[in-house]
Structure formats: C-alpha cells, structure tokens
C-alpha cells in the first residue's frame, strides 16, 4: 500500500479527485479528503489500484508525491517499537504511570495489581461492552461481607484520557497505601472500594486506532449511519429531557432509551445487585470542576448544603497540592443542563454522596493533556477523592 500526497492547484483538480473518491472499486482511503485547493490530499492506495491512480493523475497533469512508499514497512516498524518498549516495561516489571497506555496495557496492569496486592485487591468482570470487551472493576477490600462501599469510575467518555490514566494511578495508590496511610487503612477496614478504570473500552480503543476525539460508545444506531451513544446522557435520570440530543449523529445523543448502552446497564446492575454502595464518584475531563446533582433539572438536591460544603472541602484539598483550582457547584450551575447523567441517577437511587469531577485542564490542551501532567493530576484528584471518602466513612447513613 502506498500513501500519496496530491497538491491540487485549483478547483478543477479538486473536482477530479472527488470523482476518483467516488470510484469504490479502487478502495481508496483518503486521509485528507479533497475539499479545497489550499490543502493537500493524502490518500492510501491498495497495491492493486496504485498503477491506475497514478495513470489517472498523470494524464490529468495533477502533481503528486509519495508520502509513504510502503505502508506495511511503517506499520511493522511501529509494531516493533511498541513491542520493544512493552518488553522493556515488562522485564523491568514497572508500568509507567506517567504515560498514556493502550487498553491491553491497562488491562495487563489491572492483573498485575490484583496479583501483587492479592490480600486486598481482586478483579471482577461486571459485564461486556458492545464490542464484547470485558468491563473490569478492581475491588479493594479487607474482608467482611457486603460492606458499605464506594464506587469510582473513569473513562466513560473515551477521549478524556487523563481520567483512565489517573484511575490506574489511583488504583496503585490505594493498594500500596493500605497499611501505611492511616486514613486509607481505616477506610478499608470499614468499607470497600470499587474502581472501574475504563468504563467505555470500545470508545477508548477507537481513540487509539481511529479518532482521538471519539466520546461515545460504539454501538450501531438503527436507521442511521452514525455510530454511538453518549453514555453520560443514557442513565435513567430525567431521560429525554433537555441537555441531550435525539440525533444519533450528535456527540450528546442520549440513545433510544435509558440504559440502552450495555456499558451503562452493567454498572446499574452492579450497583443495584450490590445494594450497599454509599458514594458514587465519576471522573471526566476537562474543565476543573467538582459537581453534585442535579444536571437534568436546575433545582437544588435535598442534601445541597452538605454536598456543597463537602465539595468545597474536596476542592480545597485538591488546590493544596499544586494550586489547581476547581469550581464547585451543581451540574446545572457549573456546566450546563444535561439529562440522563450518571450522578443524577445514583443520587435519585439513594446514593447521597454522588459527585462528578472534571479534571485538568481548562482548555489550553483540553483532551490532549500532555502526559507529564498525568501524575500531578492523579495526585491532586486523589486528595479530593480521599476527602470525600473520609467523610463517607465518618458519616454512615
């Protein structure tokens, strides 16, 4: 396979390329589609079509250059590089928490943590994604039977990479701090923690393979060529209300019905079957916000005063480390009205301590947060989570 770069000089040439684009039998894969003469057109050509395409371009006097002579060579090299660094990671027995990882790499680390800290960490599967990937939750427990528990999830929106990365760091932190940090030790002696590091694995893989900006699940929508549902508009909380789209092509599409997404349903089932979850904490990025319900309506929750005070205390803890400021408020006032959100569901279900975090930054890098900010983000977020968990521990209800 070759990748050509075609420099179009005028609208006429753009139109000729658009004609080429329509010839499906050539199986051309445009990396940059012909749209304006100001931009180059990059196209991947399968080996059987190379001669035909070059002949077409030459006969029309359209200039091109070879961007990639042999795509397979490039892919092989990349695979080799990745395998090499993965091998180095494996043999040095250390997972680099300060970089972004593939799904497989994160899943391997979950197993590693469960093995290394087997006295308190175990891995559970709570379901499967649309594309049949396992949904793995880490359970942190020192025993007991169905103890009151705290739920934490990350990566429900796949492009929010700092959340999955922070979650795996937090997993390591909880596991390694037990027995050393008095606060976490006393917490785990009374309560369990459940941590879902990658809530939307299909989306996460898609951000690695195809579109870094993908947000939704990867479920097919009947009657539409557009894929995916916004999993944080799919919960049974004000479903169908304002702040979610009914258009499958929208990035905030709520889905055909509440809990239509298996990823959401799996969490709902787990929480209901457990029956003793006391806090529901979810990680998103970006904006630096710490929010409590409601999103589907702009009225205050009954526990407004307590949740607001606790939120402010958590934001204060976060700020104490690097000065990062989080704005505290209900979803409706802090961000926008949004129906079908997870913490609205968990709160109305009876889980009083329901909070949603929007982590770094405030827009400078947005979703593309540099890897060197992963650990600082994870560390400050951990302080906020801990503040909330301590309160939950000390205020049983």
């Amino acid at each position: 396979h070759q990748v050509l770069r075609i420099e179009t000089r005028n609208e006429e040439e753009v139109k000729k390329l658009q004609l080429l684009e329509s010839l499906e039998h050539l199986e051309l894969d445009f990396w940059i589609n012909p749209s304006t003469p100001a931009l180059p057109v990059d196209v991947r050509i399968p080996v059987n079509s190379v001669q035909a395409v070059k002949a077409f371009l030459e006969s029309h006097g359209i200039e091109y250059s070879i961007l990639i002579e042999d795509l397979q060579v490039v892919l092989d090299q990349e695979k080799q590089d990745m395998a090499y660094s993965q091998q180095r990671e494996r043999s040095s027995n250390s997972f680099n928490y300060g970089t972004y990882h593939s799904l497989d790499s994160i899943y391997a680390e979950l197993d590693h943590l469960a093995a290394e800290y087997s006295n308190i960490v175990s891995k559970l599967q709570i379901g499967e994604s649309y594309e049949k990937r396992p949904l793995y939750v880490l359970k942190f427990s020192t025993g007991g039977s169905n103890r009151p528990a705290i739920w934490i999830d990350a990566g429900i929106h796949s492009r929010e990479w700092v959340t999955q990365a922070s979650a795996i760091w937090i997993a390591k932190k909880i596991a390694s701090d037990y027995g050393k940090d008095p606060s976490i030790t006393s917490l785990l002696n009374k309560m369990d923690i459940f941590l879902l590091t990658v809530t939307n694995p299909d989306g996460y893989v898609f951000t690695h393979t195809t579109n870094r900006m993908w947000r939704k699940t990867r479920s097919k929508n009947q009657g539409s060529s557009c894929v995916g549902v916004d999993p944080n508009r799919n919960w049974d909380a004000g479903f169908g209300g304002p702040g979610a789209s009914s258009n499958p092509c929208s990035d905030s599409y709520r889905g055909p019905s509440a809990n239509s997404e298996v990823e959401v349903k799996s969490v709902v089932n787990f929480i209901k079957n457990h029956g003793n979850i006391r806090a529901f904490l979810t990680l998103h990025s970006y904006s630096q916000l710490l929010m409590y319900p409601y999103g589907y309506k702009c009225t205050e929750p009954a526990d407004y005063a307590e949740l607001d005070a606790l939120g402010r205390a958590a934001a204060s803890s976060i700020q104490s480390l690097y000065g990062t400021t989080f704005t505290v408020g209900s979803i409706c006032t802090a961000i926008y009205q949004a129906s079908g959100g997870s913490i609205d569901w968990s709160y109305d279900y009876g889980i009083k301590y329901s909070f949603a975090f929007e982590l770094r930054d405030t827009g400078r890098y947005g979703f593309l947060l540099p890897a060197n900010q992963i650990i600082p983000t994870a560390k400050e977020t951990w302080l906020g989570l801990k503040k909330i968990m301590e309160h939950v521990r000390d205020n049983p209800y």
Binding site: A38, N211, D251, Y336, P370, A371
Partner: protein, 175 residues
Amino acid sequence: DIGDVGHKYHLELVLEDVLDKDSTVNCTAEVLYHLGNKNIAPDVHFTIEGELKNTDEADNIFYNRIKSLEKELVAENIPDSHGNVSPEMEPIRLLAWVASGYVIWQNSTENTKFQLAQIKHVKQVKRSDEYLEFDYMILLHEMVSQEIIPWQMTVLWHPQHGVQVTQDSRQPKHA
C-alpha cells in the same frame, strides 16, 4: 437585559501571559449578544489596564526561522494524541490559538463555549510579500453540544502587522 437589542455582560478579568505566569494585566470588557439573529458576532469592547509585554525578539526569531525554510512548512496533529508539541511547532500552535480566537468570536452565542482542541493540519502558503501565510485545518471543541467541529482558516501574520484571519469556513464532520 437590553430590551429588543440583546444581553450585555460587563466583565472584569485578568489576562495572564501564557509564557510567563507571573505576568498579569487587568482588563475590563463589555460583551453584547444580539437578540434573535445568530449570525452576528457579539459586540466586544475592552480596556487593558497597563501594557502587554513586548514580544519583538521572539516574534523576529520565529519570523526569520520560517522565512529561511527551504520548503514550505507542513505539519499535522498539534498537539499529538499524547499532548506533545515539539518546540519548533509551539509558535505555530500559539498562532493558531490566537487566530482561532477570532473564529470563535465570530461564531459565539450565549449558548456556545468553544475551545481550540487540535490542529489537524497546517501548511504554509508561499507569498511574494513579507507576510507569512498559513492554511490551518483545526478542530474546535464546542462544550455545550460536545461536538468537535473541523474548521479551515487562512492566517496571515507579520511581526509588525499582527494576526489576520483572511478566510475561514466550517467543515463537514467525518462520519
């Protein structure tokens, strides 16, 4: 609330130098969002209390570096998936950020919140005069709808004449 006209906001803000966190300047502004017609950009009036830092040296270094390139600059995915920006591309990114500010202003309403998400592609366009011209394909993140919107913009720049967006157009979203 200005009856029959629109909504006016009075803002007091602090401008912080992206390259020097300790360098700040106070600013006041008035923004008027027009009622009804969403195709008019909001009116903006502002006053900066004090002076912005002089950037002549850095501007000239960047300008001369681009002018002396043998081939026109071409780059993509700034930042990359992992948030990396090479030092050579940092001014290209800052230029896009400024230019996208104009595009965002022209397309903002009270119900939008835009951020520059990424530069997908940038290509320098050869010019016979002393201006630098770049053709950008950027991705804008609109927070209320959560959409990622591709946008093409042609940007002119010169150290003494500042930034100009000479052409911009919203692009269709990929499936």
